[in-house]
Symmetry: none
């Protein structure tokens, strides 16, 4: 365990999913954590989980992490800045520009405040869903602004690194436009799609497969939370929604006369644009464009996959990702081996030379 | 193995993903399968996989399954009805009313035709992706019509039951409205959302989490296939898209003046309607309920995954499926190991005893 540069104590305001997860992560690195929440039950649960101790008079936190709902975040941050004049304060709300503007308007001491946003969450909220590794490998945006010194902002960087997250620096405005695109608009799109199921016949809904389930999964999100988020980021969300609506209108127009000249081409272009767009999402599973997939047929016998991986190691190619498709009723599985494009051809050749069957 | 009521042979026209999967499933029940495809390579691959034998003069199929792209389905079905005057013919295209109408208009003998549609598929097409259990537990719609007798339609029912699918009877029109709602419109919605990523900054896309990935996963679907599907089901898709567009307009209007009286309430109502809608989707049958996932943390070092697999073999647990999640900037990957439920606990314990970190 590398020693943390945070000396602590760290005060967490809001012992919900995010706050308690931050607390658990810091505790696992030996840092003193102080818990506070409007709900004494949340504090008690979080303390029972080993996330820290309840707040007490005379606490002198080095760092305060405000993890409360977005529409009260600015108010709570302002109160914390005032209550702990030696502390650096951050928050984890999912919209950033409005909070900073509100603090500045109130005359709060923003030389000790820097907002942040961990891109992590779970379907279930509350301290019981918290986990020390919630942020491991996830992006955590620090919303840089000019009124806080580099040195003071460093405490937030230490927090993020301690929790295993990846620090991403953006201005509050860049952040808010970014999350409008990759989080807030997808939420709206998922919700309006799911709304169509309200009056649908059961038989039709019974045909639902993985595609529609994926598209509408986040339609189950908490409306109370999302009203706050969408309201706080209304302008960027609005602008992207208008563009989505205009694209939908093009589909609608083409489908009004699907046999008309050009209608098929227009539909194809819209669908192809969707292909291009989704291919730009970085790094997950089979879709990572940085890597090339080599598909190897693997006999359904114990040890075959281990042998394949050992031989890939011998060949000296670094495995970036792997997926095994194995289906009952077939005598072979398909191992999808992802490697950097430069290595794919050599890997295919050397594996084939060793007797492996390459399927693609 | 319960004996099939199909006597066979069954002729499969189109040895792609669906056709070859039907063939593999029937072969595993001992039924004779005849393969045909415009591509001799597809026939050869499917035959190599054990899916049946190539077509030959004098074949006398009991049942013909047409599994070709939607826009040539009616033509191929008509040709099969004529070529095999004693056979019952079905197809597996994803739109049904138009095909029946086209056959009737052509004067084809629809007393031997009944369309069907298995709600199953995979990201990759082609015979190499086929699997005998592709249809197990999935809905398979039989598009009932009055011109075929109950007795003749029974051959299709037997086919569906043999493949382990769940038979759903609907009229062609009910089917087409149903799939517009739970498949075709979600495809369009996913595509228009993903299109917005084309011009997005990399930093914004780097914030993408599971939610947006799920919403836009099917935006990667094949435009050629989807142009055919959307064109063949234009009217129901159009009508639902208009309703989605109207809901989007309500969001857009509310976000134009998010502080206006009633704006928050309207946004909350739209989101709550999405909750209600998605809750109507019945219990998921897409994921493989037969297996339990054990998540193991694997250090990002050469040979670690091979060592894990070798030790799983030593423990004596059979690996059903494997997926590795590996993200740049992280020192560990997560190996999702799927095993039969009875083995999961023992595997977790024995791996932990050998020093592996179990993440779930």
């Amino acid at each position: 365990m590398v020693e943390s540069r945070l000396t602590g104590p760290v005060r967490i305001v809001g012992a919900g999913l995010l706050g308690t997860s931050v607390a658990l992560g810091l505790r696992s690195r030996g840092i003193e954590v102080i818990l506070d929440d409007a709900s004494p039950t949340h504090v008690a649960i979080a303390a029972d989980l080993g996330a820290g101790r309840p707040a007490a008079p005379g606490d002198a936190p080095q760092l305060v992490v405000v993890a409360v709902p977005p529409d009260v975040t600015a108010r709570v941050v302002a109160a914390e800045l005032e209550a702990y004049p030696d502390a650096i304060v951050t928050d984890v709300a999912s919209v950033k520009a409005g909070i900073l503007a509100e603090l500045v308007a109130q005359g709060a001491d923003v030389s000790r405040y820097i907002g942040s946003h961990p891109l992590a969450g779970r379907e279930r909220g509350g301290p019981l869903s918290a986990r020390a590794d919630l942020f491991v490998g996830r992006p955590w945006v620090v919303a840089a602004h000019d009124a806080i010194s580099y040195q003071r902002a460093g405490a937030i960087d230490d927090l993020i690194l301690d929790l295993g997250a990846t620090l991403v620096e953006m201005t509050p405005e860049e952040h808010d436009r970014g999350v409008a695109l990759i989080s807030h608009v997808p939420q709206v799109v998922s919700s309006v799609m799911a709304r169509r199921f309200i009056d649908a016949p059961n038989a039709a809904l019974g045909l639902a497969g993985q595609g529609v389930r994926d598209v509408t999964r986040i339609a189950a999100s908490d409306p109370d939370l999302w009203v706050q988020i969408l309201g706080a980021n209304a302008e960027p969300v609005h602008d992207i929604l208008v563009a989505v609506r205009d694209d939908l209108d093009r589909f609608i127009e083409a489908l009004e006369a699907p046999q008309a000249p050009g209608a098929r081409r227009r539909v194809a272009e819209e669908l192809a644009a969707g292909n291009t767009g989704v291919s730009r999402l970085p790094g997950k599973h089979g879709t990572d464009k940085r890597f090339t997939t080599v598909i190897v047929m693997v006999d359904d016998r114990a040890g075959e996959l281990a042998r394949l991986l050992a031989e890939i190691g011998e060949i000296g190619v670094n495995l970036e990702d792997l997926r095994l498709e194995h289906s009952p009723g077939r005598q072979v599985g398909l191992a999808e081996v992802q490697v950097v494009p430069e290595a794919a051809e050599r890997l295919s050749e050397e594996l084939a030379a060793r007797g492996w069957r390459i399927a693609g």
